[in-house]
């Protein structure tokens, strides 16, 4: 099953919509609650990153009986140094993002912790692609 959602940069009120929908779908197909939590926390962190750091993006989720594959692709500034961005505490979040309760530099590390497989690639000035997999 393939699902697709749009993510708007800067619009915090909609951040988490895709995660909420994916959570409902995984519940419906009776995935273990602990696995659902790991998937949606990672997805939500990814969604918030698009809202916080990029201009616009899309979330594509592909679910079968063995796994969920998620691809979050955005148009935005991209990430120059991925290894640095993955470090806990590194953040370039704006004041506005911090006022919303984000920008601690914990998100990418938390995605890594929660996903079974992760791939992050980026082109500066173009955008970022975050892919992750979780096995059921």
């Amino acid at each position: 099953m393939l699902f697709k959602y749009e993510v708007e940069g800067g619009n915090f009120s909609k951040a988490g919509f895709a995660s909420g929908e994916i959570k409902k779908i995984l519940k419906q197909i009776n995935i273990d609650a602990k696995i659902i939590r790991r998937v949606v926390v990672a997805l939500y962190e990814g969604e918030v990153n698009v809202v916080a750091h990029a201009v616009r993006g899309t979330v594509v989720a592909d679910i079968d009986d063995k796994q969920i594959y998620i691809r979050i692709e955005d148009e935005g500034p991209g990430i120059k140094d991925i290894a640095l961005a993955m470090k806990e505490g590194y953040s370039t979040a704006s004041e506005k993002v911090r006022e919303m309760g984000f920008g601690a530099g914990m998100g990418l590390a938390n995605i890594k912790k929660n996903a079974d497989w992760l791939n992050l690639s980026s082109k500066v000035g173009e955008g970022t692609v975050l892919e992750m997999k979780t096995f059921f």
Binding site: F12, V41, M100, G101, G103, M106
Partner: protein, 123 residues
């Protein structure tokens, strides 16, 4: 040999009583129980906590606090410092079955009252 683990539990109605709080959503779920508390205004940090039966105490009254709680499987959120929930927050919270309450206590006082009542820290 038998090892018995005692898990402290507190009913949400006790949380409401201790914090002199007002229930905004999930009023039918006050018999539900929590064991641990985590307090932060930083949602980034909340998302890194992996614990069941968790109560979130926060002064960050925005839609993302509700989303964060929902994604992290936190079933009850206390908004302290007299922060008021918006109608959009209440709508999202009840849609997802979250118990949300408002307390006029400072975060320090709310945490002290809950800790005195037996609620445990996550770490």
């Amino acid at each position: 040999m038998v090892t018995v683990l005692y898990l402290f539990i507190m009913k949400l109605k006790k949380v409401v009583e201790l914090l002199n709080a007002k229930v905004i959503t999930g009023g039918n779920r006050l018999e539900d129980e929590v064991s641990f508390g985590f307090a932060s205004d930083l949602l980034s940090d909340v998302l890194t906590v992996d614990s069941e039966n968790l109560l979130l105490i926060t002064g960050m009254a925005n839609l993302q606090a509700i989303r964060t709680a929902d994604m992290a499987e936190i079933s009850c959120v206390v908004f302290v410092r007299d922060k008021k929930m918006t109608p959009e927050m209440a709508e999202l919270a009840s849609e997802n079955g979250l118990v949300t309450i408002e307390s006029a206590f400072s975060m320090f006082l709310a945490i002290a009252a809950l800790h005195d009542g037996g609620l445990k820290p996550v770490y």
